[in-house]
Symmetry: C2
Subunit: 305 residues, 2 copies
Amino acid sequence: MDKTVDLPFETALARRALAVEASLRDLLGDRILPGEIARPERLMAAMRHGVLNGGKRLRPFLVMETAALFGADGEAALRVAAALECVHCYSLIHDDLPSMDNDDLRRGEPTVHRAFDEATAILAGDSLLTFAFDVIADPVTALSASTRAALVLGLARAAGLGGMAGGQALDLEAERKKPGEAGIITLQAMKTGALIRFACEAGAIIADAAPPERERLAEFGSAIGLAFQLADDLLDLTSDAETMGKATGKDAAAGKATLAALHGGNWARQQLVGLVEQAQSLLEPFGERAELLKAAALFIAERRN
Amino acid sequence: MDKTVDLPFETALARRALAVEASLRDLLGDRILPGEIARPERLMAAMRHGVLNGGKRLRPFLVMETAALFGADGEAALRVAAALECVHCYSLIHDDLPSMDNDDLRRGEPTVHRAFDEATAILAGDSLLTFAFDVIADPVTALSASTRAALVLGLARAAGLGGMAGGQALDLEAERKKPGEAGIITLQAMKTGALIRFACEAGAIIADAAPPERERLAEFGSAIGLAFQLADDLLDLTSDAETMGKATGKDAAAGKATLAALHGGNWARQQLVGLVEQAQSLLEPFGERAELLKAAALFIAERRN
């Protein structure tokens, strides 16, 4: 039994976030690993700026909790979780760039290209992405080689041309040519859905769970990924910059198509209820052990920032 | 015995390049892999533009020839070679960006951000980098999981913060603050040396060669990596844009420190002779089978573009 089950959700999330933050701080420290020639000071500072920023660490939480569901090794799961967060943070750094979303603020702090410069931000993102695969593939991540290779493959496919990066490309195109509903669904499944889906699937991979259980966790991830995006769209429709710590209303201002904008806030809120139910019912077979993940589904749908 | 041994070097290089080009064309085609949601058209076009450009495919050649040295599976080596070329091409796409080297031409064609746009170029690079790890980790690359994981780790470490990407960061800093000789050596070992070193080591990893042989191949890679950079610096000192198909003399114009600029062309040419000898002598234990790789060392030192 996982000891965290009885804790309220937000306490559990914060506790996991602390562990992830410590792991990231250690991984991005000054200690040089075998095969590294040097760790350039300014580049490392930019990487830390983009990563050690007090994020909620939701994706790492999902990796660690889904792994715990199967009783998998916590240390290995923590490294995989940290790697996945590196990929998430790289995507934020690159998305914030002047030629992309051109954002000056992220979680109330200057974005990496504002705090450093554009070239350094690009390289910090590149380096975080690369480093994620380093961390997972490293035998220090105490999992079998076949599990590490499966994690690398799953992460690459979720983050790459047919997933997150491809989704960002479609999002940029959407500013020029508004996509229809099907286009929006594809775009969002790629841009935000794929990595959240993989975060949940990763726990099952780490634990070497049977394929049907892996698929069940991936489906859970898809449902909460959709909920995450819908909640985000709703927030963009209704929130203000003070709450978010970043520019908001930008999607609407840019005429960006979202499902919430297309069908309205009420429809979106109804969808969210259905997605939470769907996500939670997928976890029924795991009984009490899944309480925190069920709470995560609700948290994601109801989040206010 | 490898049948290519008796062919002149440039024919062998061109033959390997054709195979790599075909593999890259296939990998970057429209066929969607399991787990990919879509392959966005414009993004894929930008990736192809940055990759399918008639490059010499020197790094893939090194992967395939070092693998062949140990009699390793050619198909698996070809996939690893193609993955490594994706990483090389991603680095060129990002290095060419306006905020980095700001180059308009690459191999006589518009750079990716000129042919498409800056955001698409960043995402094409990100996607190529990610895809490289996908290709290597995929069980379709018919190597053991532990070999695939070792290749992912080696590639990530060579390409990341302590290797190629870190070297580019140091190179940008070098424009502001000229590094001394030790600084230049570190910068170049990271920026260009690490990936060439890994290309040679990769063959030994693919073949599951004994650690001393793997180290020998890596040292060979280091020697020809140094030669590659020195030859590049010499070309930058002496060549013109017509021969190179890209802007030249830029390093000197930007006051960029290189060893060739520091010690002069004659010193650089002498160093090159020594490096070729060193590289070739490292291959002595492999006898005739290593003739092509020995020729590669000479080719790299003497190349004119």
